[in-house]
């Protein structure tokens, strides 16, 4: 029988040591795009019965429990994060719980590439490509924001003060990697407001 060969978007990329931040691909994460109405109590409780926690209702919020995480994308859309190997079973559980409820859950684990950025100048590095005020209080740990980054669409998840995951569509992974490698170059750091 054919053994499936797994190859993530940036499998062959390693960050050069000339950067002021650290950068790596996260490829072992499963992702489920979940749509349903936040105003639909049946939907919300069915999802809770599977995840074990409430989907976040506040814009740009995220909630987590163990290795599960739910990122708010829209009033009727969330991105559920889990360990990649558990994606199928989680999706099956969600679909079972939501069988009679208007919703759409899709495995999108391979649709986006995730790059984890770590370091003190992570936010300023991203501000070379994003017009958002990422050093403001709006972007505390846990915040999720979709945005225009450089010339493409991206999703940003503030994991910790100096740890940010950036999600881009898989086809743009190399572009994003190249942009970040250039922006995060040592010597090109910008410290805003003496942070």
């Amino acid at each position: 029988m054919l053994e499936p060969q797994f190859e993530s978007a940036l499998a062959h990329r390693a960050a050069p040591d000339t950067l002021s931040i650290s950068m790596r691909e996260i490829s072992e994460r499963g992702m489920i795009d979940l749509r349903g109405l936040a105003t639909d109590k049946k939907f919300m409780s069915a999802v809770k019965s599977v995840l074990g926690f409430d989907l976040p209702k506040a814009p740009r919020a995220s909630t987590s429990w163990g290795d599960l995480k739910a990122l708010w994308l829209s009033p009727d859309q969330w991105l559920i994060l889990c360990t990649r190997s558990k994606t199928n079973s989680l999706l099956a559980e969600l679909n079972a719980a939501l069988a009679k409820i208007h919703s759409l859950a899709v495995d999108v684990s391979d649709m986006r590439a995730i790059i984890r950025l770590e370091g003190e100048s992570v936010r300023e590095t991203l501000m070379k490509g994003s017009s958002l005020d990422l050093i403001s209080d709006d972007y505390k740990a846990g915040t999720v924001r979709r945005m225009r980054f450089a010339e493409i669409a991206a999703l940003l998840h503030v994991v910790e003060e100096n740890v940010i995951d950036i999600y881009v569509f898989r086809s743009y992974a190399e572009y994003t990697w190249a942009f970040l490698t250039k922006a995060a170059r040592k010597g090109a750091e910008v410290k805003l407001f003496k942070r």
């Binding site: 054919l2 190859e7 899709v106 649709m111 501000m127 086809s171 572009y175 040592k186 407001f193 003496k194």
Partner: protein
């Protein structure tokens, strides 16, 4: 020449005399001190000449002290690092700097173009329009080459720029533009409330012209006070200071662009990895314009000679760099401020005389000058300047306000002139986004009036010229703060002086320069008025006054003054020309930022991109995607490779990377009804597990996209769109659901990139798949054409669509993207024994054209309906409403003579019609000919061994068998017979094999 004849023995707040710096200017080594500008160092070396003027090539020297400099434009760096048109006054020197003057040939001293000056009578305002009209042929061969060579200042660098550039975004509660005494005070006031303050200044050192300003603040001189405030600000966590950063534009909603020269002044900074320039994109709640004021030159005859400078520039050269332009100077003024320059010169041991146009000035500084024994000629003007590449003497004439000619004059030897016609608030930024201004009689200048944005002007930028009032104004930005005790000289009124009468013929004004950079004189402006250019905007375009990089910094008001005197209108009646961004020019590198080379455009890669690349693929762009076009092997040409790939699909089996196809999951109780609205044909009747080809129109009734949609469950579909249409159609579906059919319960999730998707096409396709270990029945009976299966190939999860764009038996296999490369390899391996080969997009296009399948975007161009392309059968007659239905009934789209899609077979089967070739009703010797249609797709078909084409031809479908003509470039006419569009396997048996 002695060394450093113009460097004073002491003084110079900006320079470090212990650090000598050597650079080259026009190939000559020159030494200066660390902290010098190119301007101060070159001047200190004894050289007055910095450039030649744009039109007349007149010798020019320094005029200003900072970014207002309009003459001394210099090219810096060599080869690919060359950067033209930088102001000598802003270039900070370093060891090894290489600089050159511009707009001269062969050298600055001997310039052939200077002959233009001799003919200046024949080069008046508007000379382009007047002179180069006749004879017609002269324009192309004589005039234009001449103008091209003569015009343009610097030259463009050669080769690819090796430096890096970047953009940076920043948000602030308050941005203060300008770090002079007004800006510093405003910054401190604003910061005291806890807000985030961004302070930008174009100079390397904060303080603006505090060092050129008289007075004491709390017992400190203004410059020391400024330095103290700057130091306090530098320590505040809520203040970010950017020096060497020019705010070049102000746009809607307080969006500003600022240009930071990060590494221009020090190669070590560049070597450390920093970008050369950084473009800041700034968003602020409030903008404080503290841009100060610009000193005006005075319009007098030959006022453009080298060593005639602004009074503030002379004062700055002495104070900052310990440099004097000469040993004997004349200060020519209509205001008190310039007297400070006289004091500075006297203190430096330079002989100085003041010529003041005012008859009875009574300010404190005038009295002090007289008391100190400085020669002051009141009620006087400079009526003539002697010297060509410098100043040797002036004539001083008695003058009363409004006097038009010289009556008496006397000659005085001197070697430089410091002029001051008063100060204008620097209004550019205020005006970029529609700020209103008003004329202030006491200032003899415009000042800010009102603005729709949250923006204020403080200090000199607001027309507030006293230190005390400036501090009060700036402090208003913060909480109530302590009042400073300010001592400053009481100022007398200034008096407008728009035109100083001159000796003899010079009184015509054709050597009274107004716009130095564009060589516009008072005479040019007067001529424009006489010729009827009444609107100041017309005068600007006719004479080029206020245009280009100077943007009227020094020229604007003087020009208006001249026009005012020529027309008898007041300056407010004349109005001002528009100030446009940028305030000063900035580099293309900064504009591009980091988006160069591999980042120039985002390129989308499929999961198989690297494989394509490794296997010799030639890529073609499809939107931002790069798709494999064909895979030439060894010595194959592209054409041979394409033919091989096509025949491989027709005779054996081929593998295509179709991952770029748009894929959208659509689910909900109303999903089927929704699709019936979106597509022209019906989807509610589609059975689960089946696929259907659908057409989409836009609301105008024109083809917009097409693709195959499969029904996964009663309430669940997966839609395929074209590669280019994926994002657009995804957004389109959302838009209709959110804005029009809001009652539909449907969710739409685009999943294009989740899947790697491949077409396995050809008579052996099933043989290949069966070797992959499918866990479902792939026989024709169990898995017929236009059906769908989900399962596994070995360990690979797959969705398989039996659909075809080649006319062969074909399976589109989708697997999650990260398994894509693995499955691709497995298929290649499994297909080996059947002769499988990868095929690219060009083979795909020929294959589909052989079958007469359309491509939206090739066969359609945004004005083509489904009926036009012969798909009337796919436009539902039953459904009451779907997008575009009503428009399709508009008379225009139902009218006669629509172009219709047909096939074409050329008379000579080896002739391939050019893409887009026009068919004509009748061939004539030369155009115009009546056009009846155009070729939309055209190929040499290896399957048929002849050329084929499709075309949109007027009434095409009723012209079957007719021969039509395509006149081509070069006179050749190709003839082709109109046929139906299916060239191969008309019965369609192969697809169901």
């Amino acid at each position: 020449m002695s060394t450093k004849p113009y460097r004073l023995a002491e003084g110079g707040s900006r320079i470090d005399r212990s650090r000598k710096v050597t650079f080259s200017f026009d190939g000559k080594d020159i030494s200066g001190f660390a902290g010098d500008t190119l301007a101060s160092a070159v001047l200190a070396s004894g050289q007055k000449l910095f450039g030649r003027s744009f039109k007349y090539h007149r010798p020019r020297g320094l005029v200003g002290l900072g970014s207002e400099e309009m003459n001394a434009l210099i090219g810096i760096g060599v080869g690919s690092r060359h950067e033209p048109n930088l102001r000598a006054t802003q270039i900070e020197i370093f060891n090894g700097l290489s600089a050159e003057s511009q707009n001269r040939w062969p050298s600055l001293k001997y310039d052939v173009g200077a002959i233009n000056s001799k003919f200046s009578r024949f080069l008046p305002a508007g000379f382009y329009y007047k002179t180069f009209m006749w004879p017609k042929s002269f324009w192309k061969h004589v005039y234009e080459p001449f103008i091209r060579k003569a015009a343009g200042l610097g030259k463009a660098p050669e080769g690819r720029d090796p430096d890096t550039y970047e953009h940076m975004h920043v948000h602030a509660d308050v941005i203060i533009v300008g770090g002079g005494i007004a800006g510093l005070t405003a910054a401190e006031a604003a910061a005291s409330t806890g807000t985030k303050v961004l302070l930008c200044d174009e100079n390397p050192v904060l303080g603006g012209i505090a060092d050129l300003t008289a007075g004491m603040i709390d017992g400190e001189c203004v410059a020391d006070h400024a330095a103290t405030v700057a130091a306090r600000l530098a320590a505040l966590p809520n203040v970010h200071i950017l020096t060497r950063t020019t705010v070049v534009g102000h746009f809607h909603h307080n969006y500003l662009m600022a240009f930071e020269r990060v590494g221009d002044h020090d190669p070590a900074i560049l070597a450390s990895g920093a970008p050369k320039h950084r473009l800041w994109k700034i968003r602020a709640d409030k903008v404080v314009v503290a841009t100060g004021a610009l000193e005006r030159p005075i319009a007098f005859a030959n006022n453009d000679r080298p060593n005639i400078m602004l009074a503030s520039a002379v004062r700055g050269l002495i104070g900052r760099y310990g440099v004097t332009p000469g040993s004997k100077g004349v200060v020519f003024t209509n205001n008190d401020d310039a007297y400070l320059t006289a004091f500075a010169l006297k203190k430096a041991g330079v002989t100085v005389r003041v010529v003041d146009s005012r008859a009875r000035p009574d300010g404190a500084l005038v009295k002090r000058a007289i008391a100190e024994g400085i020669d002051v000629n009141l009620g006087s003007v400079i009526s003539a300047v002697e010297g060509t590449s410098g100043v040797t003497a002036v004539k001083i004439a008695a003058y009363r306000r409004g006097q038009g000619r010289v009556i008496t004059e006397k000659r005085v030897d001197c070697d430089f002139i410091a002029m001051s016609g008063g100060w204008n608030p620097a209004l550019h930024l205020w005006c970029h986004n529609g700020g209103k201004i008003e004329f202030d009689d006491s200032l003899q200048s415009f000042r800010p009036k009102s603005h729709t944005d949250n923006i204020v002007a403080v200090g000199a930028a607001n027309g507030t010229m006293s230190v005390e009032a400036t501090l009060v104004e700036a402090q208003a930005l913060g909480k109530k703060a302590k009042k400073f005790i300010v001592q400053e000289p009481e100022r007398g009124a200034s008096e407008s002086l728009w035109f100083a009468p001159a000796t003899g013929k010079y009184n015509e004004g054709n050597k009274h320069f107004i716009d130095f950079q564009n060589d516009v004189t008072a005479a040019d402006l007067e001529l424009a008025q006489r010729e009827g250019y009444e609107s100041v905007e017309h005068t600007k375009r006719y004479t080029t006054f206020g245009m280009a990089t100077d943007q009227g910094k020094t020229s604007n008001l003087n020009g208006l003054g001249v026009i005012s005197e020529a027309t008898g209108k007041t300056i407010p009646e004349i109005g001002v020309t528009t100030f446009r961004p940028p305030y000063t020019p900035y580099s293309f590198g900064a504009i591009a930022g980091s988006l160069t080379n591999d980042l120039f455009l985002p390129v989308r890669r499929t999961p198989i991109f690297q494989w394509h690349s490794d296997h010799g693929a030639v890529f073609e762009p499809v939107g931002q995607w790069r798709r494999a076009y064909t895979y030439p092997q060894a010595s194959e040409s592209k054409h041979e490779a394409i033919n091989r790939e096509i025949l491989c699909v027709r005779n054996k089996v081929g593998l295509l990377d179709a991952s770029t196809l748009g894929k959208i999951e659509i689910k909900g109780p109303d999903a089927a009804e929704f699709l019936d609205r979106i597509y022209t044909n019906t989807f509610s009747t589609l059975k689960v597990g089946k696929c259907r080809y659908g057409l989409m129109m836009n609301e105008l009734g024109f083809l917009s996209d097409d693709g195959v949609t499969a029904r996964l469950a009663d309430d669940h579909f997966i839609m395929h769109t074209t590669s280019g249409g994926a994002d657009r159609i995804g957004a389109w579906l959302e838009e209709w659901l959110q804005t029009e059919w809001t009652n539909y319960k449907v969710f739409v999730t685009p999943v294009t990139e989740q899947w790697a998707q491949f077409a396995v096409a050809g008579p052996r396709a099933r043989d290949v798949l069966s070797k992959l270990g499918p866990d479902f029945d792939i026989s024709n009976e169990a898995f017929p054409h236009m059906s769908f299966k989900q399962g596994h190939f070995g360990g690979y999860p797959v969705r398989v669509y039996r659909i075809s764009f080649s006319g062969e038996m074909s399976f589109e296999v989708a697997t999650p993207a990260n398994f894509g490369q693995g499955l691709w390899n497995a298929i290649m391996e499994a297909g080996d024994e059947f002769g499988l080969s990868a095929y690219g997009t060009e083979a795909l296009h020929v294959l589909r054209a052989e079958k007469g399948y359309i491509v939206v975007g090739d066969e359609s161009d945004g004005t083509v309906t489904p009926v036009d392309v012969g798909m009337e059968g796919m436009v539902s007659k039953k459904k009451p409403d779907f997008i575009g239905k009503r428009s399709l009934e508009q008379s225009f789209l139902k009218g006669p003579n629509r172009k219709q899609l047909v096939g074409l077979l050329t008379e000579d089967p080896t002739d391939v019609l050019p893409d887009g070739a026009y068919a004509v009703a009748a061939v004539k010797n030369k155009p115009p000919m009546e056009m009846i249609g155009q070729v939309t797709s055209t190929y040499m078909s290896p399957t048929l061994g002849r050329s084929i084409a499709m075309a949109l031809i007027q009434n095409g479908r009723s012209r079957m068998g007719e021969v039509i003509s395509f006149p081509l470039e070069g006179g050749k006419v190709m003839k082709a017979t109109i046929t139906d569009t299916v060239f191969y396997d008309k019965e369609g048996g192969r697809i169901h094999a």
